[in-house]
């Protein structure tokens, strides 16, 4: 199996709130630095990559964030219009102008996911179908939260099975084959070291295995630094009752409390590494006002060192 950066298409998934976007953008920065023409495609978030780089506005357009690093927010409705234009030609225009057809397509269960992933697939093709579009070397997908994420990966197969024959079935099978190709497609799970996020990473591993999809790497995000050793913790606990100043007491309490949290995190990482067969990569907690370009660059260097 090719190394992560040698693949063309990497899905980043995980429980809600674990930092999927952060990891996806950091990975994108890393790939771009290595000279790969890279795009971060967002499936469920609202222009997070653009906002992290203090840009805004452009929807469903490939926007350049930094040299060699692009982003796009994929909207299923727009993806459908584009697909119809490319695939069905003149008839496509009739269809995409039809409100009935829109209502039908958008209401058909799984159709939104199929259209979104179809666009992702298109981004990863050497021969782009979008007119005048240059190909990408590396496509990072900021995928929806795990439960839906595996659903999204499965959608092309589901549709191929339902439709059996015809263009959707053909297209579905083609995309499904691309996703199933371990040299081409990779999956990166993000978890924070908390019970629920770890559970979800473990469930994701099983769900991917059922679909015969790989889980390349698990990123353990937002790790507290191990500041204090056990002996120091004891010293801090002992000092607390003998300390009078409110400030010093607060600081001691905060230290003890972070130490306890770091210990809980370690237990969860242990659970994760016991249950996960893929390599784990740890990313530090970002103590910052918000995760902007500078922080993302920093994380991308940590990733680079670990990958």
């Amino acid at each position: 199996v090719a190394e992560l950066l040698d693949k063309r298409l990497v899905f980043v998934t995980g429980k809600g709130g674990v930092g999927k976007s952060t990891v996806a953008i950091a990975l994108g920065l890393l790939a771009a630095r290595r000279g790969l023409r890279t795009i971060v495609a967002e499936l469920a978030s609202q222009d997070r990559a653009q906002r992290a780089f203090d840009q805004n506005g452009a929807q469903f357009r490939e926007v350049e964030l930094a040299p060699g690093l692009f982003t796009i927010s994929i909207d299923p409705q727009r993806a459908m219009e584009e697909y119809l234009r490319i695939k069905v030609g003149a008839l496509g225009h009739v269809l995409s102008g039809s409100r009935l057809f829109h209502a039908f397509a958008m209401a058909t269960p799984g159709m939104r996911e199929l259209l979104s992933i179809g666009k992702v697939w298109e981004l990863a093709q050497l021969q782009r179908q979008t007119r005048g579009a240059a190909p990408y070397d590396f496509v990072v997908v900021d995928a929806p939260a795990t439960g839906h994420g595996v659903g999204t990966l499965r959608t092309p197969r589901t549709f191929a099975d339902i439709a059996r024959v015809g263009p959707i079935a053909r297209q579905g099978r083609k995309i499904a084959a691309t996703i199933a190709d371990h040299d081409f497609t990779g999956v990166l799970a993000v978890a924070i070291p908390e019970e629920m996020a770890v559970n979800e990473a473990l469930l994701l591993q099983d769900a991917l295995a059922r679909e015969a999809l790989p889980l390349d790497t698990v990123i353990v995000n937002a790790l507290y630094p191990a500041r204090f050793v056990e002996g120091e913790r004891a010293e801090l606990s002992a000092a607390l009752p003998r300390t009078r100043s409110r400030l010093a007491r607060s600081a001691l309490t905060a230290a003890l409390s972070e130490h306890a949290r770091a210990a809980t995190q370690r237990e969860q990482i242990q659970r994760l590494s016991d249950g996960i067969n893929s390599p784990l990569i740890e990313l530090p907690y970002v103590f910052a006002d918000h995760v902007g370009r500078e922080e993302l660059e920093r994380l991308s260097h940590v990733l680079e060192a670990e990958l």
């Binding site: 058909t108 439960g147 339902i162 079935a169 500041r227 204090f228 969860q268 006002d289």
Partner: protein
């Protein structure tokens, strides 16, 4: 303001929010607190942590609420004057039961449940959790056994999914778009109206004949039931808009969940939906006051030695970066949503997924403003 005041006179409390902000635990703690005060409360949870599920006696998915035995909670010292009932939603079963209920007879229900389109619909497809969660809430409300129902909403990145996904599924089930331009016959499809010809041709070209046939079989099976879906959808909407229903928005104090909370609140307002308030979880409170972290090293150096004191100070500095971030975000929330009640829960020590954690959270949720100040002061020093 305490959550008890926010929920006064309410029969339904929906806890919404983006993923990873502690919705499930918050829902359970709210239900617990209201039950403690004497109400008969049912909480519908979705995918709770195992320890939390065990704490509530929810060993498996089941589709009816079960009473949480008081003795499970007693050791932690909370007296439940009312009753706490809990369930863990099983979307597939809820969907099947819905079909059983509205199908004209059992054999039709069996046929529908065996249909390929239905099987995909009720399991794989995103939106089925949201759809069934609301369906369950509606049925429980109609049965009227509870003083208060608390609904945890499915995990999603976007809080609004909870409203949009069921609607999408409903409009599919109503088959309005599809029915408008085709009518199933024995073989394939007959087209209604001239204008529909290219549409149908296009549809078949894009989707394949089999899919269209399968869908048409599915809608044939649904038959008159599509009307029931529409009627139910209207009733559900009435329930969500009722003055006895309150939406509580659960968020953490980080920038993006706060942005989402503000946006979600506005959308609710535009939709005319009653809003209860915002619960902000995992708040880092300011412990510093007017001091600087360097003052900490100085204050502790003699007791701990320079090196350890510096480490404590550097931890404190990092903590305060987060405290300042949280205060800034909460300030923005207050400015953007003037007058909305905010309930702040501190960043508690453990990953809260057991009875102890539930009670800790409950203490903050149900404290009056002054009690909460006192609780926070305890954390602070």
């Amino acid at each position: 303001m305490s959550v008890a005041e926010l929920l006064e006179g309410k029969r339904v409390c929906v806890c919404a929010g983006s993923g990873g902000v502690g919705k499930t635990t918050t829902s359970a703690a709210i239900a617990l607190g209201m039950a403690a005060q004497g109400a008969k409360v049912g909480v519908v949870t979705i995918d709770p942590a195992r320890r939390l599920a065990n704490a509530l006696g929810l060993e498996e998915l089941q589709n009816e609420p079960r009473r949480v035995e008081a003795k499970r909670l007693a050791p932690a010292g909370l007296e439940i004057r009312g009753e706490l009932w809990a369930m863990m939603l099983d979307p597939k079963r809820t969907f099947d039961e819905l079909i059983d209920r509205i199908a004209p007879d059992a054999s039709r229900a069996t046929e529908i449940k065996a249909n390929r389109v239905y099987r995909e619909l009720s399991t794989a497809v995103s939106g089925s959790q949201e759809f069934t969660a609301i369906a369950k809430l509606y049925d429980l409300d109609r049965e009227g056994d509870f003083d208060l129902l608390v609904l945890d909403t499915p995990p999603s990145r976007n809080a609004l999914d909870f409203f949009e996904a069921p609607g999408r599924l409903t409009s599919f089930l109503e088959g309005r778009a599809l029915k408008a331009f085709m009518r199933p016959t024995g073989v394939g499809m007959r087209v209604l109206g001239k204008g529909a010809v290219p549409l149908l041709a296009g549809l078949r070209r894009v989707t394949g004949v089999d899919l269209v046939t399968d869908l048409s079989t599915f809608f044939q099976l649904l038959g008159g039931m599509t009307t029931d879906f529409s009627l139910r959808a209207a009733e559900v909407e009435k329930l969500l808009m009722a003055s006895t229903t309150a939406f509580l928005l659960v968020t953490s104090a980080q920038g993006e969940p706060i942005d989402e909370a503000i946006w979600f609140r506005r959308t609710l307002e535009a939709g005319g939906i009653q809003f209860g308030g915002v619960v902000v979880n995992r708040v880092h409170h300011d412990l510093l006051g007017d001091s600087e972290p360097d003052d900490v090293s100085a204050a502790l150096a003699r007791k701990l030695g320079r090196e350890l004191a510096d480490k404590v100070a550097s931890n404190f500095r990092d903590y305060h970066v987060l405290a300042r971030r949280d205060y800034k975000n909460i300030g923005r929330l207050e400015r953007e949503l003037p007058g909305d009640p905010l309930v702040l829960i501190p960043h508690l020590d453990d990953d809260i997924h057991d009875v102890e954690g539930l009670l800790q959270m409950h203490r903050y949720l149900f404290a009056s403003r002054s009690e909460r100040q006192r609780l926070i002061a305890e954390v602070v020093a």
